[in-house]
């Protein structure tokens, strides 16, 4: 694609503030975090010239660097001039409501453009050195562990068992379709811990590359107590990776399902896990019940919050956060009717969590193919920035550090990007 057909998207530009106007409206906010928010919100597509700058021996493409099939190359993400990461799940070709940005080329430089105007210079992510290697068991390492510019991403279960109960998958989540497909094809959906350990050991040979490991998993509900099997798996994985570090401790973010106090204590006592994240996804009980019916049925909204608070007792303030798929609170037919109402209600609940020592980490909702809400409209840029600013203001008001989930350890939350100054 070499230019965007603006006529496909109607007059959305007249209905909301532009990037420039939002940057002017929020002078305290990083203009890069605002740009990142908008790139994720509207999506990006790549011109042929931009893709000529993509070298699959150097750059990172989804789901791996070997990826170059009939869909073409899909870069995994972009870096902005200030080091801000932009995580992109897919290209913006399927977005229905707003024109995506076009990533293009200016000489030897990669630039992001809107309506033919240069917005800023951007950079492709680089792939990891281990991507061409294979495990002892013959598996390509790229297929086992993925990367961000400075983070190793490990997925325990590629399948989420909320999808076992009809209607219980989260509506914005493409994992159900992806993991379900794997399961249907008879592929292994639970990562082998020895394989993962081997890849991480290889990754650590790349000096100066990685600053953090993130472990996440599709929810595993089974066990003596709900989620015991997920907790057991995580304990084994975290401890296996501990073997690779001098005193067993390493920067690690675990994004798990909301565990009971007993399970959290086990994680704390049986591993060197420094911090804990359980994504509540949306801050309103009614919307949560509609958006995440599995989480609502098996754990419940208030219980999810209670478990986050229990985690603060165990891991400490500044060591617990919760991710929000920011914008889903306004999904048509599910969420609030207006951005003003959403802002007010979400802010109130975010304050309750901040008071308890929990940071909210905004992840901008990118309606993705494979999810139930793939064609939905996400909110205005102004709303996304306003609510991110609120989360950061609350984090500062209640003095909660967020080192383990900042611009570099994670890079997917515009509000925690602001902790850099």
């Amino acid at each position: 694609m070499n230019e965007i057909d603006e006529s496909k998207y109607g007059n959305w530009r007249d209905e909301e503030k532009s990037l420039k106007e939002v940057i002017e409206e929020f002078p305290d906010f990083s203009k890069f975090a605002i740009l990142k928010t908008d790139l994720q919100r509207r999506g990006v597509v790549y011109s042929d010239a931009a893709l000529l700058l993509f070298d699959k021996k150097i750059h990172s493409a989804a789901p791996s660097c070997i990826f170059s099939d009939s869909n073409g190359i899909v870069p995994t993400g972009l870096l902005l001039r200030d080091g801000t990461s932009v995580v992109l799940h897919e290209t913006g070709e399927n977005r229905k409501h707003r024109a995506p940005y076009l990533v293009d080329r200016e000489g030897d430089h990669l630039i992001v453009t809107d309506q033919g105007e240069k917005v800023d210079e951007v950079f492709y992510w680089e792939r990891a050195d281990f991507f061409d290697k294979f495990t002892k068991s013959g598996k390509p390492m790229w297929s086992l562990v993925s990367t961000r510019p400075q983070r190793l991403d490990i997925t325990g279960s590629w399948y989420c068992h909320f999808w076992d109960t009809p209607g219980c998958g989260c509506k914005y989540c493409p994992i159900g379709a992806q993991g379900g497909e794997k399961k249907k094809n008879g592929e292994e959906v639970l990562s082998d811990i020895e394989d993962i350990k081997e890849v991480v050991a290889e990754a650590l040979k790349q000096k100066g590359r990685f600053t953090n490991i993130m472990i996440t998993t599709g929810s595993i509900l089974s066990g003596k107590e709900l989620l015991d099997d997920e907790v057991d798996y995580n304990i084994r994985l975290i401890n296996a990776l501990s073997d690779l570090f001098v005193d067993g401790k390493y920067p690690l973010q675990l994004i798990g399902t909301a565990y009971s106090r007993k399970q959290l204590e086990r994680l704390h006592n049986e591993t060197e896990l420094p911090a804990y994240t359980a994504d509540i996804e949306v801050l309103n009980e009614d919307v949560f019940n509609k958006l995440c019916p599995g989480k609502a049925k098996f754990v419940g909204y208030q219980e999810w919050k209670n478990r986050l608070k229990a985690a603060v007792d165990i891991f400490g303030r500044g060591h617990v956060d919760t991710g929000l798929v920011t914008g889903t609170e306004l999904a048509e037919g599910i969420g609030f009717a207006t951005e003003d109402e959403a802002y007010q209600k979400v802010s109130e609940e975010a304050e309750e969590l901040a008071e308890a020592g929990i940071t909210c980490a905004a992840t901008i909702w990118q309606p993705s193919k494979g999810s139930i809400l793939k064609d939905a409209k996400n909110p205005s840029l102004e709303y996304c920035v306003k609510i991110s600013k609120k989360f950061e203001d609350l984090r500062r008001k209640y003095n909660i550090p967020v080192d383990f989930d900042d611009y570099r350890r994670c890079g997917n939350h515009p509000n925690t990007d602001l902790a850099r100054v």
């Binding site: 890069f32 200030d82 080091g83 680089e126 000096k207 100066g208 590359r209 570099r408 850099r420 100054v421």
Partner: protein
């Protein structure tokens, strides 16, 4: 491509004998000045230096500067007592990629513990602030700015 830094100035900036300081401003408007021996000029006219500490005030101020297009200042003093003030805007923070990894390895080989960021500054103005030159200018432009005993018989 900045042509403000010519070959001769680049040599002075890059000399190990030159003292180099960097001044930045925080989001609350508080000035911060640090010695930065890693400051060096590249052939493309950009100034580069390494920040070793992620949460240092200097790093925070540079982040704030790149977010808000704030100017930073670099002063250098050569062993021959020549000094220059270089104003610039912060162009890029390199935190990942092969360029970062090469600098990281160099920093580690030099005995430091870690590297946070490679900062790239684009000079916007260079002033020769050497005392000898400035004193001559002062005499020419402001002849009355002196003490009487200096001109007494």
């Amino acid at each position: 491509m900045s042509d403000l830094i010519d070959d001769s100035l680049r040599e002075k900036i890059n000399s190990d004998d030159t003292i180099k300081v960097l001044a930045t401003e925080s989001k609350d408007g508080i000035l911060h000045v640090v010695f930065k021996s890693s400051i060096h000029a590249e052939e493309n006219g950009k100034i580069i230096f390494y920040e070793l500490i992620e949460s240092s005030q200097n790093n925070k101020n540079l982040v704030y500067s790149i977010w808000h297009d704030k100017e930073v200042k670099i002063s250098i003093l050569t062993k021959d007592k020549e000094s220059y003030e270089i104003s610039g805007i912060v162009k890029r923070a390199i935190v990942a990629g092969k360029e970062f990894e090469e600098a990281y390895q160099k920093v580690i080989e030099d005995g430091y513990k870690d590297l946070s960021t490679i900062w790239v500054i684009e000079p916007t103005e260079v002033k020769n602030t050497s005392l000898a030159k400035r004193a001559k200018e002062e005499e020419a432009l402001h002849p009355v700015f002196t003490h009487l005993d200096r001109i007494a018989k």
